[in-house]
């Protein structure tokens, strides 16, 4: 059945995404196989649309995996990929440790309070990410508010060095990504049946055992969703490492940025992007599967 209205509805958003999302990836892949050159745009070979088949063949013969080999031989990139994944894993764990008690307490609060608490968790999410990261520069610096407080109270004699270390990066990530962890965990805890906990305690569990054996396993879908929602964006994070991190903080989002803006090496930047995407594909697929399973379980 041919239906022009239906075709129009499908075609407009489809072609928009096709040309502005999928095609650009093709271009990144193409340039990652090219060589850097001192030209505008700064890579070679360039495609000459007038040349016909010969031009296309020439284009493909100019492609090679040189940039990827260069990435694999240079220790900097290996270290940056590994340290991005490591920083993301540590951040996920820290966010979980901070976020779980908050989500738990929210689910335990009285029903009339919950909408307000939810709004309080979401509100910072609507304010600018950049500003929330900036706020920590003033707190963590060597003359910052935290050091002023600690020096004044006599806990320390010399200012702590936190800003421009990985610790500042962890704090910044936990701070900005906390809602992503709290909300899915809260959603599963809110639905949890309190009778189950009573039953566990009647059967001789201590409070902690009941929590560990009943509450935690039942909130696992929320925990998993929260972990993915933090892990995936943090691996490619740029703003936090560049504002709070130091010269020793290696994160791949920052490397890509520097490779592009400072070194103007577009082919290497593109190759970095391709590898970053490959690293993220596995967690993304796992996350999608888990979401699907959770949806099916609900029905």
């Amino acid at each position: 059945m041919f239906n022009p209205r239906r075709l129009f509805l499908i075609l407009v958003p489809y072609s928009w995404l096709f040309f502005l999302f999928l095609v650009p990836f093709g271009i990144v892949l193409k340039i990652s196989l090219s060589d850097a050159a001192l030209s505008i745009p700064p890579y070679t070979p360039q495609f000459d649309p007038e040349g016909g088949w010969a031009a296309i063949r020439e284009l493909f013969s100019g492609f090679d995996l040189e940039n990827f080999i260069w990435l694999s031989e240079d220790n900097l990139y290996w270290k940056a990929y590994l340290s991005s994944v490591w920083i993301a894993l540590v951040s996920v764990l820290l966010t979980l440790l901070v976020g779980y008690p908050i989500a738990y307490a929210m689910a335990r609060s009285s029903e009339e309070w919950r909408p307000t608490l939810l709004m309080l968790v979401i509100l910072p999410f609507w304010t600018s990410f950049l500003i929330r990261v900036y706020a920590w520069i003033g707190i963590l610096g060597s003359n910052g508010y935290l050091n002023q407080l600690l020096l004044w109270s006599g806990v320390i004699d010399e200012p702590l060095v936190i800003l421009n270390t990985n610790w500042a990066v962890y704090i910044g990530i936990v701070y900005t990504y906390l809602p992503f962890m709290v909300l899915p965990i809260y959603a599963t805890l809110e639905k949890l049946d309190g009778d189950l906990l009573e039953a566990a305690e009647d059967l001789g569990c201590s409070r902690f055992q009941a929590f560990w054996l009943v509450t935690v396993p039942l909130s696992r879908p929320g925990i998993i969703a929260g972990c993915f929602l933090v892990f995936i964006p943090v691996v490619g994070e740029f703003v936090i490492p560049s504002l709070l991190g130091g010269s020793k903080t290696l994160m791949i989002g920052k490397i890509l940025w520097d490779e592009f803006f400072s070194n103007r090496d577009w082919p290497v930047a593109s190759a970095v992007a391709v590898v970053l995407l490959l690293i993220l594909i596995i967690p993304i697929i796992l996350f999608q599967r888990q979401q699907q399973r959770a949806q099916e379980a609900e029905q």
Partner: protein, 273 residues
């Protein structure tokens, strides 16, 4: 699940909200600081707000940002609503899997990759970079968020309402306009708001796809902040935080009032019948 609310829960909520809000409150408090040194308190003053409004570069960037946000979120809302309708209502068609993949992928692909790939596209098309390219980029990733928000609303409402309108002689477009659209309107509006804030907030993608002719507010803030703390940035942040807080709080109050009104109308209707 509301049983005991222990001191442990009270403590974790208190600490949690102190952690979330204290940095913002400090930032706001020190925007009224007299001193140029942001971390040293030297008395109350609003002079940094005055300096901010005198700063032409900030004002220009704010105007560019608002323009981009309004236009891109409107495009994103139209496209995202269409995409949601296609995914939820139109059933199977060739390439549906690819389509839904393209809707969900931008939600998880890092900004640096989206920015880089769009820039390379614009360059290979020979497009001049500026406001237009930022609008196109923002509309593209925001439409995916809009379509997720709208499709969750479309899934949950009763399709027979649309069918009834069609049976009563509406054209499909009339049925959409007078039945579907009013029902999904809250989701469309919150989709627009989400797209608007995403656009206001974006630094990375805008930095890639913009040219020297267009600087957005986040780009301006970032270049300033890289050099260190600045009282003007504190003042600017305070204004932005105030706008967002007023917006979010008032919209949630309006929502609450609308719910109360609806409940009352339902009760009145029951009484009359």
């Amino acid at each position: 699940m509301s049983r005991r609310f222990s001191w442990f829960n009270a403590t974790s909520l208190t600490l949690g909200f102190v952690f979330l809000y204290l940095p913002i409150l400090i930032l706001v408090a020190y925007s009224f600081n007299q001193s140029k040194l942001v971390t040293v308190w030297a008395g109350f003053s609003t002079k940094w707000y005055g300096e901010l409004f005198q700063n032409q570069a900030f004002m220009d960037a704010a105007i560019v940002t608002l323009k981009v946000a309004v236009v891109s979120s409107t495009i994103a809302t139209i496209l995202g609503t269409m995409a949601a309708y296609v995914l939820v209502r139109l059933g199977r068609f060739k390439g549906r899997t690819l389509f839904s993949g393209m809707i969900y992928a931008p939600l998880v692909v890092p900004d640096v990759i989206v920015g880089l790939s769009l820039l390379l596209l614009f360059i290979s098309l020979g497009m001049g970079r500026g406001v237009t390219t930022i609008v196109l980029a923002h509309a593209t990733f925001s439409m995916c968020y809009v379509s997720v928000v709208v499709s969750s609303r479309l899934v949950s409402f009763d399709q027979s309402l649309e069918e009834a309108a069609l049976d009563l002689g509406c054209t499909p477009w009339d049925a959409f306009r007078s039945v579907t659209l009013p029902i999904i309107a809250p989701a469309v509006i919150s989709g627009w708001l989400l797209a608007f804030t995403l656009s206001l907030d974006d630094l990375v993608i805008a930095s890639f796809v913009s040219g020297p002719s267009a600087t957005t507010l986040p780009m301006k803030i970032f270049s300033q902040v890289r050099l260190g703390l600045s009282p003007e940035i504190n003042a600017l942040s305070t204004i932005m935080i105030a706008i967002v807080t007023v917006g979010v709080v008032s919209s949630s109050l309006l929502n609450k009032r609308a719910t109360v009104r609806r409940l009352r109308q339902e009760q009145d209707a029951l009484k009359q019948s």
